[in-house]
């Protein structure tokens, strides 16, 4: 699997942990795997070895050489009897080392810990290790063990470079519960208590776990809407609540049409949808009509579902941030907003009625993680699509000539949190360059981008900056920028601008692209 991701693999010598760390050159990604079995010795030797690894690893991370995956297996062959009265010191030193690794991972965004104990024990150590290979070529693992590591590296790398999915779309009949509500009736569907009914309710509990980590839950079901909500409201064993559903399409339309509409209402790309339906025919139709959607091959045995959903890598992510937990209310507001807006003819006066309140402030340390997330994930409203990781954002923040602004917003539908980011670099001759200008697409349609740019212009004008240079680098996803540019009436520079290959514009900072005070009520 790794060989299909990496264009060039190179291997360091076995057993030379410290020299390898000392001699790391420029690679895109480093992977180092340490086995506690190789470190094991008396307590003081173990501690010395681990301390040396930690300090050398820290040196590498300080140099900021890109993603570093540190794999670790703390496995030791211990007798049950030996573990009956106390924890052997070697187990404690492995645990201490793990703790230190994780505190490094908090400090250095590049470091990702690949804790092999979990996937190894899932399959069983006797299958993972092969002592013959160790005596033959100093390789501890069996072919199975190698495949587990290969897969683990691929999962972490995939998440470093690709966003996680955002919406779980669930069917109702024979998915949330057993049976068909329209035929079996409320008292005969299978849900809760024992057996298969318990598996269905545990599946709902797993969905709620995802919801709490920021995943949106939607329904897509061929049913009479009233019947489904009747189950939600009146079935005593129902775990999911109606208010936990962001968006429901309960009708007799083809499901792919419903999914397309869902994508539009949530302003999310279909590749961030995961489709879970017990019916193989419905699944095949979605695969065929909307290949971007992640269709889960649902096992026919429902008892396997809760674990399968818990372990879906599509939703797995490195952190859960406080903003993630607000997702449900934010997107529900978004859906309401889109529906209301469609009914309103006059957008300008509509905006006034929703009491929108945007806020701009200089980025500080507390919002670096959110700024990084915006930089990594925003595709549509993004002028230059410059991706910054956390340490790069901190680097930008520490430069005196940079102003980084972050914008948050709320309106009568809810609090949207921090949704837009701008990096302004002051250059010579009272000019500044707009290095980054982006806004989360879920907030588009409220003219916040106009407000944000105008606010930045005003601030620069106050700092005696005369001109702002803006670059637009078009790609397949950010076409929405060109409409924005038209709306702002910014003039394109005909001649080329040093070092910039995109479309370059400049704007005087005393320009009024919008009457900011008239924008919102």
């Amino acid at each position: 699997m790794i060989s299909s991701i990496a264009s060039k693999l190179s291997f360091a010598e076995y057993g030379k942990i410290i020299p390898t760390l000392e001699n790391i050159n420029d690679y895109d990604v480093n992977v180092l795997i340490v086995f506690h079995q190789d470190i094991q010795n008396n307590k003081s030797v173990e501690n010395k070895r681990y301390a040396a690894i930690i300090s050398q690893l820290q040196e590498v991370l300080k140099k900021n050489k890109g993603p570093f995956i540190f794999g670790y297996s703390s496995y030791l062959n211990n007798q049950v009897t030996r573990l009956a009265k106390n924890i052997p010191s070697s187990i404690s030193s492995a645990q201490n080392f793990k703790n230190k690794l994780y505190s490094l991972a908090t400090k250095y965004p590049d470091l990702h810990i690949m804790d092999l104990d979990s996937p190894f024990s899932e399959l069983g150590y006797s299958k993972i290790f092969d002592i013959r290979n160790w005596y033959f070529s100093h390789m501890r693992l069996s072919l199975i063990g190698l495949n587990v590591i290969d897969n683990a590296i691929a999962l972490i790398l995939h998440r470093i470079y690709n966003p996680h999915a955002k919406v779980l779309v669930l069917d109702c009949d024979n998915t949330l519960w057993g049976g068909i509500i329209g035929e079996d009736g409320l008292s005969n569907i299978i849900l809760g208590s024992d057996g298969i009914g318990k598996a269905h309710s545990d599946f709902q509990t797993s969905a709620i776990k995802l919801l709490k980590s920021g995943v949106l839950l939607s329904l897509c079901s061929k049913n009479n809407e009233k019947d489904v909500w009747d189950v939600f409201k009146n079935h005593p064993q129902m775990v999911l609540k109606k208010n936990q559903i962001t968006n429901a399409k309960i009708n007799w339309n083809e499901k792919y049409l419903n999914l397309i509409e869902m994508g539009r209402e949530l302003s999310l790309g279909l590749d961030s949808f995961v489709f879970w339906d017990d019916d193989p025919v419905e699944r095949a139709k979605i695969k065929n009509k909307l290949p971007e959607i992640n269709v889960i091959d649902v096992p026919s045995d429902v008892t396997l579902w809760p674990k399968k959903l818990d372990e879906l890598n599509l939703f797995a992510k490195f952190y859960i941030q406080s903003d993630d937990r607000k997702k449900l209310t934010q997107y529900k507001s978004k859906v309401k907003f889109e529906r209301k807006k469609r009914l309103s003819n006059d957008i300008q006066s509509f905006l006034k009625t929703i009491k929108l309140k945007p806020q701009i402030k200089l980025l500080d340390k507390t919002s670096v993680a959110r700024a990084t997330q915006l930089s990594q994930k925003t595709n549509q409203f993004n002028f230059r699509t410059q991706r910054y990781n956390e340490s790069q954002i901190i680097g930008l923040l520490n430069k005196k000539n940079n102003n980084i602004y972050i914008c948050s917003a709320k309106d009568i539908f809810g609090d949207y949190g921090q949704i837009a980011l701008a990096v302004v670099k002051k250059i010579e001759n009272q000019q500044a360059f707009l290095d980054t200008f982006l806004m989360s697409c879920r907030i588009l349609g409220r003219d916040i981008e106009l407000w944000f740019l105008q606010s930045i212009l005003d601030k620069l004008n106050n700092q005696s900056i005369e001109k702002l240079v803006i670059e637009y680098i078009p790609n397949a996803q950010n076409i929405v920028i060109s409409d924005f540019i038209k709306k702002c009436k910014i003039k394109k520079i005909v001649s080329t601008y040093k070092g910039l290959n995109g479309k370059v514009f400049e704007i005087n900072t005393n320009t009024k692209i919008t009457k900011i005070e008239n924008l919102y009520g």
Binding site: R132, N133, Y135, F136, S137, M139, L143
Partner: protein, 80 residues
């Protein structure tokens, strides 16, 4: 029999070593004859053979398995 085994081994070999085409004189090949066949690749190759033939080499056997002719002989003996 040996020929059939030889063909199958060649396919596995090409796959593990990441080669793009069949080799001349495959049955005479020894470890080190081509750049890709180093000790690391050899380990992978032997494990893949165990996997595909559902057999297990002893450590004594493994230390002899650094030429295609020995590998073919050992496999045909074990799969008899």
């Amino acid at each position: 029999m040996v020929d059939v085994i030889n063909k199958k081994i060649e396919k596995i070999f090409i796959d593990v070593m990441g080669l793009s085409e069949e080799l001349k004189n495959f049955s005479d090949l020894k470890m080190g004859d081509i750049e890709q066949w180093d000790s690391l690749a050899n380990m992978n190759f032997l494990m893949e053979l165990e996997n595909k033939y559902n057999i297990r080499f002893s450590i004594d056997e493994m230390s002899q398995l650094s030429s295609i002719s020995n590998i073919t002989k050992t496999i045909s003996k074990k799969t008899d």
